[in-house]
């Protein structure tokens, strides 16, 4: 028996050997690309047995986690039974090669006897070479060649050749193992990708789909549909396509992530979708230009809507429980006074009754105002507030509302500075609604002016707009807080500045009604101690033409 250390260099030299080496490499090289170990083993055994002109060639690999070597291929055994043939990795000739990591050459009966084996004539085995296969620096299996009693007896040259072959085959095994691992990782990634709760589309530069995940396909209504290779415009509903196209353009232009929400159709269902476009810098995947993610946020939007509805309800409850109490208290308070008046019948009772009547009227009208504000708010919220539009004499409306507001301001000793341009008008609008919002702005000025202050009212033309400016001496409002006064149920909650209650709907309604007229209400800059509201309304067409 000879061992590899004695034979390793013996294959060098002769031109015949060199040619066999080359042919062996040539035949084995394509096997390196094999994707499975089984395919590789089968092909390798057949190449080796043919090129080395041996009777039998077999290959065993260690069972992962087990003690045996399992037959992967053999030229002299039927493929059906390969997987059933196992040998112990720590016994016999194969065990020696496996554990020593070196080739074993047996050429004589004495060599076989060392392993308690007879040369097995029924397999024709009179001479054999067993060579270990290394993968990632560890012995993972063996390759074995054998010739019958009457066949050629192997020499060190055969050992050299089989060693060389085993290195190529080992490379092939490593590659096949890695391929299997890659396939597994790929399958895991694919599964992760499919299990994302966000629908994902990857597009190439022609906006054709290169990848899509299960969620995306199921959002479209058919998880099994073929999306790959189709144009984005064919995959998305037109309601989504335009926005997505714009996001892609912006994203690719600035190389940034772009995001927007849209109420669109996907899979025959209207959904609120959050679309995110990310430019792809995917390593190695040059075909993908960008990634688009679709998240169904309909539920988020629904929750938001319900929260708003809930806060509206809270607002109404607060309103009813708080703001209705004061006028009710006044009306309730007049009842015993009436009894007193009825009991007596003199001039003083007469005066008292007049006073009571005005108190009741005033407070009934306050209650009515609150109820109307609630109804108007509901109508604005659900879009059912209707305007009766005609040419409205806005100058007359403003003048008459100022007279009413003056009555309210008497108790606070307010002064009025009025500067109206009576030549202005008309505006296109609903007279009742215009009266309502003008009066709201005026009474707001009265409410928030301290005693003895001056309210300035002026009107002017600004291009196509009629502009009403109302300044009160109630102190300025910081620019960043100006928009919030128009919020629903807004109240200046600081009791030190709260001159008077109110249902917190007045300015909200005023702004919305002005908008329905194509106009606006805003707080504009004024002196530091005054708050200036400006109402703008577009002139009616006739006036516009004259102007």
């Amino acid at each position: 028996m000879s061992e590899s250390n004695g034979i390793s260099s013996s294959a060098e030299g002769s031109g015949v050997d060199q040619e066999r080496y080359l042919r062996l490499f040539e035949a084995l090289s394509p096997l390196v690309a094999a994707q499975s170990v089984d395919d590789l083993a089968k092909a390798a055994c057949s190449v080796v047995s043919e090129l080395l002109e041996v009777q039998a060639c077999s290959m065993f690999l260690a069972e992962p986690g087990g003690d045996d070597l399992v037959l992967k291929a053999a030229t002299h055994i039927e493929p059906d039974s390969w997987s059933e043939i196992r040998i112990s990795r720590d016994k016999g000739i194969c065990g020696k090669a496996f554990f020593s990591g070196k080739p074993v050459l047996l050429t004589s009966e004495a060599d076989f006897a060392e392993f308690d084996m007879e040369p097995r004539s029924e397999l024709g085995q009179a001479s054999c070479v067993v060579c270990p296969l290394f993968v990632r620096g560890e012995v993972r299996g063996i390759i074995n060649i054998a010739n019958p009693l009457n066949g050629r007896v192997f020499t060190a040259r055969d050992v050299g050749l089989i060693e060389a072959a085993s290195r190529v085959i080992s490379g092939g095994i490593l590659n096949a193992v890695q391929f299997g691992e890659t396939v597994q990782i790929h399958a895991q990634l694919e599964s992760l990708f499919d299990n994302l709760h966000i629908g994902v589309l990857a597009l190439d530069r022609d906006l054709r789909v290169t990848h899509s995940n299960w969620r995306l396909r199921s959002l479209r209504g058919d998880p099994d549909s073929l999306v790959k290779g189709r144009l984005l415009s064919e995959v998305l509903d037109p309601s989504l396509y335009c926005l997505t196209r714009r996001l892609i353009r912006d994203s690719l232009k600035s190389r940034t992530v772009e995001q927007d929400r849209i109420d669109g159709r996907m899979g025959d269902k209207s959904r609120m979708l959050e679309i995110t476009v990310s430019p792809a810098g995917l390593g190695g995947d040059a075909s993908t230009e960008c990634l688009i993610m679709f998240e169904d946020v309909s539920l988020d939007e629904e929750v938001k809507r319900l929260r708003e509805a809930d806060s509206l309800k809270d607002g109404f409850l607060r309103l009813i429980s708080h703001e209705l109490r004061t006028p009710l208290a006044v009306i309730r308070g007049t009842l015993p006074l009436m009894q007193t008046c009825c009991a007596k019948d003199n001039e003083k009772s007469e005066q008292m009754l007049n006073k009571i009547e005005s108190l009741v009227k005033n407070n009934v009208s306050k209650l009515t105002g609150i109820v109307n504000s609630i109804i108007d708010t509901v109508e604005i919220e659900n879009g059912s507030l209707k305007l009766l539009i005609k040419d409205a004499d806005i100058s007359e409306i403003v003048r008459s509302r100022i007279e009413f507001a003056k009555l309210d301001s008497e108790a606070k000793d307010l002064a009025w500075e009025i500067n109206l341009d009576d030549s202005l008008g008309p505006v296109a609008g609903d007279e009742t609604r215009l009266s309502q919002i003008v009066f709201e702005l005026l009474s707001n000025a009265v409410k928030f002016s301290p005693r003895g202050a001056t309210i300035s009212v002026s009107t002017r033309r600004d291009c196509c707009d009629y502009v009403l400016r109302i300044a009160n001496g109630g102190g300025g409002i910081a620019p960043e807080r100006r928009d919030t006064v128009f919020d629903k149920f807004f109240q200046i909650d600081n009791s030190s500045t709260r001159a008077e209650g109110g249902c917190g709907l007045g300015l909200y309604l005023t702004q919305n009604i002005a908008r329905l007229h194509g106009g606006s209400v805003a707080i504009v800059d004024g002196n530091s101690d005054e708050t200036v509201f400006e109402l703008r309304l577009p002139f009616a067409m006739a006036e516009e033409a004259l102007g």
Binding site: R325, V330, G333, T497, E500
Partner: protein, 121 residues
């Protein structure tokens, strides 16, 4: 000469109706239109009882009551609070700052009268 009551409420109508009612019951009424005015009027008029609205501009009723109780010359004047808030915390706060009674709007004027009578007895 009847007992003198100071009514402080920024709601003109509430103030008037309480004033008319209490005057009809023989009380002498003085009024204040906000928290600061209430402090001034209390010092000037030295009333027998003060009716304070909670929600008033400048300083609210709770704050006025607290200041009254800190003033040695005014701390013995009993205070009744009137409020549009029926919250328990609000009532609690009224008692904490030293009010004798906390009445929620809308209220029965006769009950207010009964409360006033029992305090001034």
């Amino acid at each position: 000469m009847g007992k003198k009551i100071l009514i402080a409420d920024d709601e003109e109508d509430v103030k008037v109706v309480v004033q008319l009612f209490l005057e009809s019951k023989g009380y002498d009424i003085v009024t204040a239109y906000d928290g600061l005015d209430a402090m001034d009027r209390a010092r000037e008029e030295n009333p027998d009882l003060i009716i304070l609205d909670v929600m008033m501009p400048i300083i609210d009723g709770f704050e006025v009551c607290k200041k009254l109780k800190e003033d040695p010359g005014l701390k013995d004047i009993p205070v009744v609070m009137l409020s549009a808030s029926s919250h328990a915390e609000s009532k609690q706060r009224g008692i904490e700052v030293g009010a004798v009674e906390y009445i929620v709007k809308p209220f029965d004027p006769e009950k207010l009268q009964a409360v006033i009578e029992s305090i001034l007895k």
